[in-house]
Amino acid sequence: MEFDRVEVKGLVKVYGATRALIGVDATFDAGAVTVIEGPNGSGKSTLLNILGQLVRPTRGEVRYGELGVVNKGAVRGAIGILAHAAMVYPDLSARENLALYARLYGLRDPAAVLERSIARFEIGRWGERPSRTYSRGQLQRLALARALIHEPTLLLLDEPSTGLDVKGVRRLVETVAAERERGAIVALITHDPKLADELADTTVKLKRGKVVS
């Protein structure tokens, strides 16, 4: 693991006249799932995007363990993200998408990693078809495989259960639990109280951009 803790201190994010985050402090530890709760517009996704280096904070800092406050490929390479959108190319097959990400992450022996990933998420013959033809469940398996292909240290989950059936949610829970066992730092946004209860080790509650508990 590249780092064992992520700390955010005094995080402020302002979009024009809107203050999305106002002085947020939080800690995310290895081997634990931290659920980020709050109503719509409370700043959950902004916080997750800042953790993932997709959004720059207006003020404050994010420390990635021993790596400190950095914005480099080394940190990005240790982050995996899973959201409602699969973040794959619909004209490429599951196999081609995963091979692309294996190359982008510069993995050693990408062919072996690809086969392991395909076996882990039970991507069968359907994985040869373009991903725009997949069902929601198949797309979720591909999205999970993509997010985890490089065994990320920090796993960010942004409402990943949206639109999934019971079986899909079960697979998601099992995968997140396995990642926690592996020692990953997991940050999860969900509006599903059952999912939160099942997975949460700690909780960060946000309201109007502030941590309330």
Binding site: A85, A86, M87, V88, Y89, G106
Partner: protein, 226 residues
């Protein structure tokens, strides 16, 4: 530098692979460019001399309009399924995403332009056989800077609602030095001006390319981070 080149190659190869499979950009932007040249040739056909004078302008109008369409479509792929978010999280230098997309789009635009060139020559009855190499060189130089700037603004369109409107409204004024130099250089070459006398225009186009590429490399990362 090694990581920049590796990332650029992976992204460019992905662009070409998707396009080889779908042919979406080549067909839509190519047909649009052809439509512009054919309609213009019908609208402005007067006599051989007038046609020859119009040909450089029509060639560049067709090429630049098809180019805008190609750049917009290339980035629409990144919006679909939010693929750009996954791409931005990978450890490759973000400049390599820009360069890879630019190279991919440049290839598509060049392929379209290499079809437009003989079509314009036929429709406007211009014998380009002696100047074909020079005209192609001018087109390559002009379109390189145009695609470099266009890729940057098309990337911004991923994060804005105005999208295609913004590409056109911002890109055409900023590309005007390159487009104007390209049209004038093509006109001079087809008008019989010796190659030596067009070198100044080629230098302007080369400077336009350098400015476009450097601007893209420097500005891409800040523009893609909110």
């Amino acid at each position: 530098m090694k990581e920049l080149l590796r990332g650029t190659w992976v992204i460019a190869a992905k662009e070409l692979k998707i396009e080889l499979r779908t042919k979406e950009i080549l067909v839509t932007a190519g047909l649009f460019g052809l439509l512009v040249t054919v309609l213009t040739s019908l609208a402005f056909f007067l006599d051989d001399d007038t046609s020859r004078r119009l040909a450089p302008g029509v060639l560049w109008v067709g090429a630049s309009f098809a180019g805008v369409l190609a750049m917009g479509r290339a980035w629409a792929r990144e919006r679909e399924a939010d693929a750009i978010r996954g791409l931005l999280l990978t450890p490759i230098p973000r400049a390599s995403i820009y360069l890879g997309k630019m190279i991919g789009t440049w290839v598509f635009v060049m392929l379209i332009d290499m079809v437009l060139l003989p079509v314009v020559a036929i429709l406007f009855r211009v014998d380009m056989s002696a100047e074909l190499g020079t005209v192609a060189l001018i087109l390559v130089l002009g379109m390189t800077g145009y695609v470099a700037l266009g890729t940057l603004f098309a990337a911004m369109s991923v994060r804005t609602r105005a999208r295609d409107l913004m590409i056109s409204v911002v890109l055409f004024p900023l590309s005007s030095p390159g487009l104007l130099a390209g049209v004038v250089a093509t006109r001079e070459v087809l008008g019989g001006t010796p190659f030596d006398e067009t070198v100044a225009w080629l230098r302007i186009l080369l400077a336009f390319d350098l400015v476009g590429i450097v601007a893209g490399l420097v500005l891409f990362e800040p523009l893609m981070s909110e």
